[in-house]
Symmetry: C2
Subunit: 165 residues, 2 copies
DNA sequence: TTAAATGCAAAGGGTTTGCACCGGA
DNA sequence: TCCGGTGCAAACCCTTTGCATTTAA
């Protein structure tokens, strides 16, 4: 049952946005300041890593990758910063198939996730693709689902193919 | 950020099925035997609790509730049994909004879950309600999503109303 | 009889917390 | 200067594992 799993995403539609020229964090710094909070080297490291991770990392991984840049990084700082960033609306998290928190910087477009139970790969799903369902939930129940937190587990095309073959 | 949360479900359509007359576990016992596995008092307790929990409990809660019946219950037995039951297809788990495993006995009809981020309540969503989306995912990507593992987080009708008011 | 299941106790992994010190603004 | 952040270390919680013992079949 212990299924090997590492986050990371095969972007559904490759060149969706491409990296912005200006540093990801410049606006974040401003937002922090606007809230009376501070811009620190540690926070910069964390944001750099988040941005470089194609936006998908578990908390533990984030700690590890930050350590690669700054060996002095500590978990508490990372997790506390993630809390702050989430409050600011800069990042979001959902729970991977193994239940661990998985973070991503808020993308241009909101998206959910598909996780293949068999091969462990994952994909993004655009809002458009799930909008009909979200709409139905909204209409029938008044429930406003949060796409960014959505993670569907199942079997991907390849793995379904293999079992079939 | 630490959000108070206790699983438990407001069934969407109240009297959907009503409890079966025969003990939930009689067929399970047979299935265990059929696989060369054993029917034990502990397993019976666990199944009774699962069935009495409206089918939704975290692992930790299950342990606790089993202890109420049999104080000698140990976590290892509970978790190991859950693994077995999941392999047998008797129970399923998904991850609640806080990432903990949440188990339910496989219902007559597969269903997913809605969790309100604000009030913490949750609801079941029938397959029908999400079928259009699943269908779209299947067609566009070949991805077969597992409804039983689906848990959408968002804001329920009541809580949206409050914020609005 | 004998493999499966249990109980115990300890480890494990990710995440959180308390507290003294540090350092952006 | 001063409050927000950091680092450390320990605590926490849920879950898993190893191993000797029990027990269903």
């Amino acid at each position: 049952m212990a299924r090997p799993y590492t986050p990371g995403v095969d972007r559904a539609h490759p060149a969706a946005g491409s990296a912005p020229a200006d540093p990801v964090w410049s606006s974040v710094r401003d937002r922090l300041h606007a809230s009376g909070l501070r811009w620190t080297p540690q926070r910069r490291t964390i944001l750099d890593v988040l941005a470089a991770s194609d936006g998908h990392v578990t908390g533990a991984e984030l700690v590890e990758r930050c350590r690669a840049i700054d060996p002095a990084t500590t978990p508490s700082t990372v997790y506390r910063t993630l809390d702050v960033l989430e409050d600011l609306g800069v990042v979001r998290h959902h729970h991977g198939p193994d239940g661990r928190e998985e973070f991503h910087v808020l993308p241009e477009a909101e998206h959910g996730h598909l996780h293949c139970r068999v091969c462990g790969r994952s994909w993004e799903v655009g809002a458009a693709e799930v909008e009909p369902m979200l709409d139905a939930l909204r209409r029938h129940r008044g429930f406003e689902a949060d796409i960014s937190h959505m993670a569907l587990v199942g079997r991907c095309a390849d793995c379904r193919e293999i079992r079939r073959g």
